[in-house]
């Protein structure tokens, strides 16, 4: 019987077809299902390789331009600058300055992050706490930390305390803002799950709220770190002048005073290297081992 495109009343009907059943063939007999990528595809697929090539290109441009200008007092070549850096790394000079900066940074960072945690937890449990946090972050978050340097010098003199004060300011607000946002966005279901276990508030914060908000907490810590590192170097440049001692900022400042331009560049390179190392080694590792492993961030 031929299939009719329309029934008696002229409406379209689908054609009637025979039914069928099949047994799937074993996958091993189907031949190639997956193929390993070629070496070139693999290498170019690696993000680190791609980014590293960009750095190489930039360094080549720098080297080329400096050689063309051939004015080492204004712009030394990439090779000269790296030589200066390696010279001071081997002599240990730059390492001493770097260590000084990092110690300060860690102190300020730890205090700032702790204060941020306290503020955010208070803000999560009480309305007053939330009002305090929101008002304070609204006021102080836009205030550049470096603008507090003169005040810090008046209050704390020229010692480490003043720098730590400035660092705390630069870390506290971004971290608190992100932490609080993270706590607030924890799903109601998870909150109810936590409540179901009859946990006390402290253990609820540590065991449910904090890990559940960890993606935001980590973002806050990363932003806080970047703010702190920039602020510290800038503040050291200012402080160094007055106190005659200090970290990487001071190292750069000294080199500038003696017109050792390659050393100025070496100092800047060191600032960049430390920044990259913290971001890519420490934060990346934490990220891979936590939020990515847990499927909370892709």
């Amino acid at each position: 019987m031929a299939d009719l495109p329309a029934n008696a009343s002229g409406k379209l009907v689908p054609p009637l077809r025979p039914e069928l059943e099949r047994t799937p063939i074993d996958a091993s007999k189907l031949g190639e299902i997956q193929r390993t990528l070629s070496m070139g595809d693999k290498i170019w697929g690696n993000e680190a390789v791609r980014k590293f090539s960009i750095v190489i290109v930039l360094l080549a441009c720098w080297q080329g331009y400096a050689m063309y200008k051939s004015d080492p007092l204004v712009i030394p070549t990439a090779i000269e600058s790296h030589q200066a850096l390696f010279r001071d790394i081997i002599s240990g000079e730059v390492l001493v300055y770097t260590w000084y900066s990092i110690q300060l940074l860690l102190t300020g960072y730890a205090i700032g992050a702790t204060l941020a945690a306290i503020l955010s937890i208070a803000a999560t449990f009480t309305r007053v706490g939330r009002d305090i946090l929101e008002t304070l972050t609204a006021m102080f978050s836009p205030l550049p930390a470096i603008a507090l340097v003169p005040l810090a010098m008046i209050w704390f003199g020229l010692g480490k305390e003043a720098l730590i004060f400035v660092l705390i300011h630069s870390v506290l607000w971004p971290v608190a803002l992100n932490m609080h946002g993270g706590f607030r966005s924890v799903s109601p279901t998870l909150r109810m799950v936590g409540a179901n276990y009859g946990m006390n508030p402290l253990s609820y914060v540590i065991k449910i709220l904090f890990p559940a908000a960890f993606p935001s907490v980590l973002t806050g810590l990363k932003i806080g770190w970047a703010f702190a590192w920039r602020t510290l170097i800038a503040a050291e440049l200012v402080f160094g002048v007055a106190s005659g001692g200090g970290g990487l900022g001071w190292y750069i400042y000294q080199a500038k005073n003696t017109f050792e331009t390659p050393t100025v560049f070496a100092g800047l390179l060191m600032v960049i290297v430390i920044g990259l190392a913290i971001e890519n080694l420490i934060f990346r590792t934490i990220e891979v081992r936590t939020v990515r492993k847990w499927g909370m961030q892709n």
Binding site: S187, M192, N196, A212, W294, G295
Partner: protein, 269 residues
């Protein structure tokens, strides 16, 4: 059928019920309204019951379950578990939610099941692990013991949540539409598995659903609630699903209880 609002003297309930809900009115506040979710609802749940709260959306069945869970207080009436008034959430009433995100994403399957055993029951790591393994086996997730939740399917996540609830061996297990977000095939399988689990351990279950079919499959006793605000429309005994005719009749009866008047209204209009 009369609607019992006062405490009942039911001869069948000679044994003291596990959970008593007496004249419970529940209200919640929105931005500018005070909404009554349920009005003077009363019922008893006995040990080993599979007690289903059934009703269309807006009948306050989830709100009622949350009140039993201790998440919100009744404006009127009282809820008692083993004679003690419920005032706050607690591990004697474990909740299984509809949402897949009820598992802690930073913990593996076994850690999720162990967590309440550790924090709420104060078990040692070894004890909790042993107990967790038993229940993970029961929900057939042995192969996924050390997997993180984000690598599991929706049905598997719900099975972990059920294992977590059961492992606590609570007085009553509260399930808030646990299979509603699953596909139909998985849902059917999960219903069968739940009944199998109940047959093994005879826990007490309170189960919220809006599906008449699911209520008949899962429950032995079905509380039918009318909407806006939720009031008791009927309290029925379920029938075995294997008896297709009885199940069909019960479904029709519930359907009539819930929508009968409405249909009549339509046919007259």
């Amino acid at each position: 059928m009369a609607l019992p609002t006062a405490p009942r003297s039911d001869p069948a309930a000679a044994v003291a019920p596990l959970l008593q809900v007496e004249g419970v009115t529940l209200q919640y506040k929105t931005a500018d309204h005070r909404v009554t979710a349920t009005y003077r609802v009363s019922f008893d749940v006995h040990r080993a019951d599979r007690f289903v709260l059934l009703g269309p959306s807006g009948c306050g069945k989830s709100t009622l379950l949350k009140a039993v869970g201790g998440y919100l207080a009744a404006t009127e009436g009282e809820i008692r578990l083993k004679g003690n008034r419920i005032t706050r959430p607690g591990p004697d009433r474990m909740m299984v939610f509809q949402e897949f995100d009820q598992l802690l994403p930073w913990k593996t399957v076994i850690q999720n099941v162990m967590f309440p055993l550790r924090v709420a029951r104060g078990m040692s790591d070894a004890q909790a692990r042993e107990r967790a393994k038993v229940y993970i086996d029961k929900v057939k997730l042995t192969k996924f013991t050390d997997s993180y939740p984000h690598t599991l399917s929706g049905g598997m996540k719900q099975r972990v949540a059920i294992a977590r609830g059961m492992a606590m061996e609570p007085d009553i297990l509260l399930m808030d539409e646990p299979f509603a977000a699953l596909d139909a095939l998985t849902r059917r399988k999960m219903q069968e598995e739940l009944l199998q689990l109940w047959d093994d351990t005879r826990f007490t279950l309170m189960f919220v659903t809006h599906s008449i079919e699911e209520a008949i499959i899962v429950g032995n006793r079905i509380l039918v609630l009318s909407p806006h605000p939720g009031q008791v429309r009927a309290e029925l005994n379920s029938v075995p699903v294997s008896d297709a005719v009885a199940a069909r009749n019960l479904a029709d009866r519930i359907s009539f209880l819930l929508f009968g008047d409405e249909k009549k209204g339509v046919s007259h209009g």
